[in-house]
Structures are given as structure tokens and as C-alpha cells.
Amino acid sequence: MASLDTPRIVSSRWSLPDSHTLSRYLDSGGYVALRKALTMFPEAVAAEVDAASLLGRGGAGFPAGRKWSMLRRSAISYLVVNGDESEPATFKDHYLVERDPHQLVEGVIIAAYALQVSQAFIFLRGEFALGLERVQQAVNDAYEYGALGSSIFGSSFSLDIVVHPGAGAYICGEETALIEALEGKRGFPRIKPPFFPAAVGLYGEPTVVNNVETMSNLPWIVNNGGAAFAALGAGRSTGTRLFALAGRVRNPGAYELEMVKNTFRDLIYDPRLGGGILEDRAIKAIIPGGVSAPWFGPELLDVPLGQDEVAEKGSMLGSGSIVVLDETSCVVRATWRIVKFFSRESCGQCTPCREGSGWLERIMYRLENGGGRPEDLDLLLDLSDNIAPGLTWPPQQTTICVLGPSIPSSIHSAITLFRDDFVAHVEHGSCPHV
């Protein structure tokens, strides 16, 4: 059975009626943390976040406190919130922005205070039309309430937040591409080094880019202290996390669970969570952290949901999304669809990614549609090796950003775990399981 008796930190209001409104937020403890933070020194607020050991919830899992400490203190610097949530099967930020936008806004103001930045931007993917409305309304309300704007709650801290709509591009989730989009350009990731926008970011200024869920944790951390947050979870994975469960499960959904204390099996099978597999079928594979992550076979279901725990087994917790394939799912078709996604979303700057994704997609297409050749399996792996040499995890990089090296994950995993399925597609021209 899953362990569910821990506090819900970011999803506590989801079940309340009108959870997106200021009045509901205020009568459920809203903006108390901000008032408290404003009585503390900015570096003391940052120290609480550091003590919480909050790992960034976007995908890379970089400690938020350390990211903040890299911000060179110059006259103008920016805080940018990454709400581009486009990693396939990830839908936690979607609910955070629609169901508790004030929690996000309060988190952003707290972070801006800790960092002493003058302007913050909340970048939301354009497909979140309702989310954009809710967050914009929350920002409008926060101004009116005195939580934003000039001299917040009578303090000597002022801040403006601008809500910025994206326009449909997966790559804008990459923080330097997001900054380019925010500067009104194509979403091309920037050449590294500099590796972090904390050195050169928006308009060339030091910038911190944090995920929506990361920001949404901050009110709780300020209210309860970093130590209380760090007491949850285990090892490097502290606090709770939203896990977005999708695919062939009875109850797909976004579930907030204490880090490490539950396993993939708990999440998928507990009747209060995933509720098991549709029609009680067997699990074929799971994709543990977004489609950039290598797959797990059913023998790894007892791995705990923690950053290092999943990394030790050769994959990543990534964006916290978990896709379940059952015995009737065609892994060749699934792989083809994932590669097609990368091919469509490659920004086109780097040859291995732009050309490689297209080649891989065309080979996968012919395999799936009855035109596969015996040598295609080796060809797929050889091409994959050209994009991510050695096919290691984490992958070697041949491109400006990590989109390219993420492409081979599915192909390499699927061929390693289910070579027979690929061979059957070549021999029979169709899937033996569907």
C-alpha cells in the first residue's frame, strides 16, 4: 500500500471549490508566507530554501537553492518561471496553474524577494488558455490586494510580474530557448557555455529560471521552515512531488506523494492512486520521467520514486510523469510516435538532432507499417549512436541542448527490452500483440 499520510504541499487546495480565486486562497492560509518572508532578510529566505534542499521540479532536478546562489548580484536581474510544460505525458503544472494560481504567484513573489529581483516573468505555454486566464487574474488580484506592485504590504520591496504566453514549441521548455522566446525570437536554445542563465540570461542579464512546481512549493517552505520540508522524503529527494500518471492505468491523474516513500508499483496499483491496469492486464513497460527517459521493464516496479533511486537504475525521474504500457501496447508504434514527436519539435539548429530525428522517424515508420528490413535494428542503433555517442545514460551530447541526446532513449530502451517485437514487425509486417 502506498504511504499517503504526509502533508500535501502543492495540491492542498485542488479539491476546494473555486480554488483559483483570491478569496478561497486567503481563507486557506494564502499570502501568510509572503507577509512572513517580508519580515525576514532576503538571504534568510534563500537560506530556508537551501535548507529545504528543494530540487527543481522541471526535469533536470538541479537544487533550487544552488541555482539561486549562482545569481550574480548586479543592478538588474530577472526571475523567469518556466510554465512551458510540454514534455509528453507531463501535466502537473497544468493543474497547478489552473487550480491554484495564487500559490504560484505567491511563490514567485517570495522567490523574487529572496533574490531581490526587480521584475519576474511567468512564461506559460500558449495552449494553457484557461491557465493563462487564471494566472493573469491572480496577478491582477495580487496587485489589487497589495501583494504585488509598489511597496508590497507596506514594505520597501516592489515587484512587477508579467504573464507571458508561449505559442506552441516544446523546445521552449529548455531554459535558454524560453529566454529567447521571451525576447521575442525563435525558440532556439543558446550555445553553452555559459551553461546557466544565472551568468548570462534575459537581455544578457543574470536570470534565474525556475519551474512552476518549484515556485509553488515556496509558500509552504516559508510557513513551515526548510527543515520541515527536508524532513520529508529521503536522501537528496526531499519534500513531496507531483507525479503525473498516464497511459494504460485505471485512474490516470496527478498525485502528490512524499518523495522516495513510494514505489512505481504503489503509484500504479494502489486503489487510491492509479488503481491498477485497465482490464487487469500485465505491465509491459513504464516510461518513468517523460519521453526523454529510458524505459523500465516490469522488474523495476519496486524502485522508489526518488531522484537518485531512479537514476541508479539508469533512467531519470525527470518531469515526474509516468507512462504505463500494458501487454496489448505496441512498443514499436509507441517508439515511432515518440521519435516522430522529437523530429517535429527539433528546433533545427544542430545536424545530429535535425537530420537524425527525421531519419529515425522514417525508419521507425517503415518498421511499424510493414516495410521494415532486418538490418533496420542495427541501423536505428547506429544512427542513435551518432546522436548520443555510446548510448550511455546520461547521454553524451553532440548538440546545443539536451533534446537531441534524448531522442535515442526510447529506441535504445525498446530494442533492448523488446527486440523480439521489432523482429516480429520485420518478419510479419505487423505487431504480434495488438
Binding site: 509528453p88 501535466f91 488558455a129 484557461l130 506592485g149 516592489s158 507571458h164 508504434r333 515518440i338
Partner: protein, 205 residues
């Protein structure tokens, strides 16, 4: 000669004022042009170029990178059906085929009455309601063919306009006013806060 109507032009100027550099308003401005024209008309693109201090070629080149911007006319309702992994596993492809049959147009095409444009989308981040369908970027949660057909009927009759505004209207909630904190105020606050912090750091050493 301005192409954006007065109200939208005023909003566009406010948007430009929110950013330290006016080019940053590019994506929001392009959304505004679509709100008025339904797609990115040459006149709209010219006005965005003027507002952002860029060229029309630059605006067009930027816009063409993004899936949500249409350089050709589209229907009043843009129907997006996701077929990415989570939806693939729960009937996304079948939903897309059904939508194509119901609307009588190919994927990427527009229905003969000009009302609907059908798109195959990448993940729309609503995977627990798969297969996911959006109309004009609003989640409509029609997970079965029957629900989809009922939705289309409603849209045709204009019965869903309160929840699915016409194509191009991305958000109906507008920012109330421009920036509130004066630049000088921010600069002086930051200088004071840095001085105070350095003082504290010195004391603690």
C-alpha cells in the same frame, strides 16, 4: 494606417510597455493579431514589426517557428487532437480519424463550411483525460466519439461560445494596467538592500 482596431492597438501599446525591450512583446502581439484577424495577416504582421521595431521578414520568421501561429486563414474553431504517447495508448489516433470523418476534412485541412480546422497536436498536458481534444486551445474533454460529435454540433450552433471563444482569442482576462513599480524606486530599493546585505555579511564575518 493602422490595422489593429483602436482597442487592440491600445492593448498592444500597453503590452510593449511591459517589457524592458519592446521586441519581447512579439508573441503576445502576434496572439493579438490572430484575435482580430483569425490568422497572421500581412497587415497585422506589418503592425507588429512597427510595434516591436523589427522588420516584417523578422516577424514572419519568428512566427513561423511556433505551432500556434497561422500564416494562412483557418476555421473559426481550430480542433486539436493529441496523438502523443499518453493519448496513443488511449485511442488518440482513432479520435483523430473520427474527427476527420465527422468534420469532413483531412488532418491539417478546413471543413467546407470554413468553420473547423483540424490539427494533430503534440502533448497538450491533460493526459489523465486522454484522448485529449482542444478547441481553440480550450480543453473540451470529449473522450469518446459520441461526445466529440455532440461538441461539434454545439459549436456549429454557437452554444459553446462562452467557454470556447473564437479562434485567436487566447485569453479573455486582461492585465489590469501597466507596470506598477517605478524604475527609480526599484533601483533605489535594490541599492539600499544590497548595502544592507553587505553590511550584515561584514558583521557576520
Amino acid at each position: 494606417m493602422r490595422h489593429l482596431r483602436t482597442e487592440l492597438r491600445q492593448r498592444a501599446e500597453e503590452l510593449v510597455g511591459l517589457y524592458p525591450q519592446r521586441r519581447s512583446a512579439m508573441l503576445p502581439l502576434l496572439h493579438l493579431v490572430q484575435e482580430q484577424d483569425g490568422y497572421l495577416t500581412p497587415e497585422g504582421i506589418a503592425e507588429v514589426a512597427e510595434l516591436t521595431g523589427t522588420s516584417e521578414a523578422d516577424v514572419r520568421g519568428t512566427a513561423s517557428f511556433y505551432d500556434m501561429f497561422h500564416l494562412e486563414p483557418v476555421g473559426r474553431y481550430v480542433v486539436g487532437v493529441c496523438t502523443n504517447i499518453a493519448c496513443l495508448l488511449r485511442g488518440g489516433e482513432e479520435m483523430l480519424a473520427h474527427a476527420s470523418a465527422t468534420l469532413g476534412c483531412a488532418v491539417g485541412g478546413t471543413s467546407s463550411d470554413g468553420l473547423f480546422t483540424l490539427e494533430e497536436t503534440e502533448c497538450l498536458a491533460d493526459c489523465d483525460r486522454a484522448p485529449v481534444v482542444q478547441v481553440n486551445h480550450r480543453y473540451v474533454r470529449t473522450t469518446t466519439p459520441e461526445l466529440f460529435d455532440a461538441l461539434i454540433e454545439d459549436l456549429r450552433a454557437g452554444r459553446r461560445d462562452h467557454e470556447v471563444p473564437h479562434h485567436g482569442t487566447l485569453i479573455r482576462v486582461r492585465r489590469a494596467g501597466g507596470l506598477h513599480a517605478e524604475h527609480e524606486e526599484i533601483v533605489s530599493q535594490r541599492a539600499a538592500s544590497r548595502a544592507a546585505r553587505d553590511e550584515r555579511a561584514k558583521e557576520s564575518q
